[in-house]
Symmetry: C2
Subunit: 418 residues, 2 copies
């Protein structure tokens, strides 16, 4: 009963040794589905952007040499030879002494090497008076000056935001190769849990974990498959776990991992493939009764029934694996410095994560105050917290009034002076 | 032609005066669809959580008074009267002198007021020897101690992450009232643009804006409706704008707003409803030829054709409105301090936003360097930038080597020492 538990660091290391969180595969998606997906290959432009020499002003396309010496006092007069509209192939050639009217964005006609802005011209019939000279290349954008054919425009592993999707559209792509989203099967165990919406018979509580964990999977770039509440019966649980492993890239169970007669999940998982259970209990708080198995390359995380423990263990152990499966770089949690408002103690011998709220006191100090947990079954502890303070198993305590790192769960909510 | 443009601040103010970015409506969604949605009303618990007094350990439910004086040397002997399992209604009553075996999470049976941990007990037949006393209330969690019936558990305007979805499940909700996502119709104009995937005839370029703006709408909590490329013909554009206003809460057009014969959109918009065009050109760079109209309460943003200008104007003018429509609080863009690596000049008389890259130099200074823009049609400028520096229209320049605020577009990419 009092066997030595793996430390937090040992558990992390064993997980890493048994499971490499590499991308699980790639797929093609259309541009309209590509938002927030992760590029699985470099994207190389197969065309120049712009594809042709463009005018960047409204004016007259000319041979620059024809405009030399032009001034307000002594305009140069050259001959109108036609128009070039936006989106059309020019049907004029600008020979020496000629000028073609051109709109912003239109392709420069053959023979021209610059554009005089309309402001510096006057047209009288077929005569165009030029009052300022242009140099060769002036007011035009060279073909390929934005993106050169053959240029690597986006790199593998890039998350696609509006800006990158603009680049993909620019080179005319309609589809792109991205990493697959890992499918994660979620099942709940425990005789006391019932699905939200059903009536709550005496002794029952609603299944929180399936819903919180499904959302957490979405937040980690995965696709949750909610398999519902599975009775703690060997055959039912075996079938559910087999189905989960067949249909998903990772499995999360919650509940049913306290030491006791109902401790079925790890036993069953060990029969389903190798290496089976690799971590059975971790010296952490919250989350001690966490079991992790690997079954033929797929992880099975058996998280505690307590919602705060379960969701917290998800963040610490499951999320980094799912990010890896999704081709997303492992992240560092955002953190900031605050001052502990009270003395905080770790659970004896366990890496302890204290859920805290951040507030600003009257003199502007950012204070970290533990969320009153009441007792360990509380769901609201995590929901009420802004973040957590990590206390090493080797530390005696964190004193009041000292600077601590607070790891943030999300955007900081508005804090108020007390 | 050289009419005075509205300043950036004037344009912002006129937009605010003509359009209040209030939530456009509410809808009910299931818990599995609730992730990242915004609560449209406070959520009040209609039950206690836990709904009953729970044991938080495995052990024996007793009357605490019966255990007084118990010790290792002198255990108290009380009589086994039955079992209480998790998820079941207790069918025993713990009278004086009795003890009921109880599992973690099971409801405390009537008569009991504390639980002795199994570690401090020994069972021999129907005798239970208790080696440590418990006080009344020890090792139990009171009904309602986590969430009290009638308690406000979540507030209106809360964005629903995994943590809040856990709270909703805890109180048994299957649906929740959230703000509707604003529908945003997007249409492109301009004789030169063609849909990605089609062949690129001479003088044509791919339509970048529709795709980049669709993704930007998603990033702002909206639902894009891509109406495609509309020819610059009065009847076609009128029909498209009517359809857009019918089917969406906001409309974005891009291209076709240069001053010239093709400047149709504002003319048409003025015929469709009141007040019509409220902003016609803004003294900003990039984004000067931006036109904004309000048609019977719905905004119509006519953004420039240049992709960088268009997407940047979206961020500055459109996104705050969409966030408001979606019930999301207006955000402050993340920013950080950096040192300008070079002198930066504003465009004369215009609020200028200089796209910059951030790099760290050899001595660890974070440097902001303008992205070489080449010329203004570039799509890659924005995609290559980490953020921007804002230069007031009143400023002469930003000197090299001084501290500047850099507003970030997203997560900071890895920067390398040069």
């Amino acid at each position: 009963m009092f066997r030595k538990l793996l430390s937090f660091d040992e558990a992390k290391q064993i997980l890493r040794q048994n499971l490499s969180p590499k991308p699980i595969g790639v797929e093609r998606v259309s541009l309209s589905e590509a938002h927030d997906r992760v590029l699985a290959q470099d994207v190389v432009a197969h065309i120049d952007i712009p594809p042709f020499i463009r005018s960047i002003v409204d004016g007259y396309a000319v041979k620059a040499a024809d405009t030399f010496g032009a001034s307000e006092e002594k305009p140069v007069c050259i001959r109108f030879c036609g128009q070039v509209a936006v989106g059309e192939s020019p049907n004029v050639v600008v020979e020496k002494g000629l000028a073609a009217e051109i709109a912003t964005g239109a392709p420069l006609p053959e023979g021209a090497d610059g554009v005089v802005m309309v402001e510096y011209t006057t047209r009288q019939g077929d005569n165009v008076f030029i009052r300022r000279p242009v140099s060769s290349g002036e007011n035009i954008m060279e073909a390929g000056s934005d993106i050169r054919k053959g240029e690597k425009v986006l790199r593998k592993s890039q998350i696609l935001s509006s800006r990158e999707i603009g680049v993909l559209a620019a080179i005319g792509l309609t589809e792109v190769t991205v990493y697959k989203r890992p499918k994660v099967a979620i099942l709940s165990t425990g005789a006391e849990v019932v699905e939200p919406g059903k009536s709550l018979l005496p002794g029952k509580i609603y299944d929180i974990n399936a819903h919180a964990l499904s959302a957490a999977v979405l937040e980690s770039g995965g696709e949750p498959i909610n398999l519902g509440i599975i009775p703690d019966k060997r055959d039912r649980l075996t079938r559910a776990l087999e189905k989960a492993l067949d249909s998903a890239d990772a499995v999360i169970t919650s509940g049913g991992v306290s030491v006791g007669p109902k401790d079925l999940t790890p036993q069953i998982v060990n029969t389903l493939g190798k290496p089976g259970v690799i971590i059975s209990g971790i010296a952490v708080k919250p989350g001690k009764p966490t079991t992790i198995a690997v079954v033929d390359g797929k992880p099975v995380f058996s998280l505690p029934g307590h919602p705060t423990s379960s969701l917290f263990m998800f963040m610490v152990f499951v999320r980094p694996i799912l990010l890896g499966f999704a081709g997303r770089n492992e992240e560092t949690m955002p953190k900031l410095k605050a001052v502990s408002s009270t003395k905080m103690f770790p659970a004896r011998g366990r890496r302890t994560f204290v859920m805290v709220n951040l507030t600003i006191d009257k003199i502007g100090t950012l204070l970290a105050t533990p969320v009153p947990t009441g007792l360990s079954g509380a769901i609201t502890t995590l929901a009420k917290a802004d973040g957590f303070v990590e206390i090493s198993e080797k530390q005696q305590f964190v004193d009041a009034g000292i600077e601590v790192d607070v790891y943030l769960f999300g955007k900081l909510r508005k804090t108020e002076a007390k």
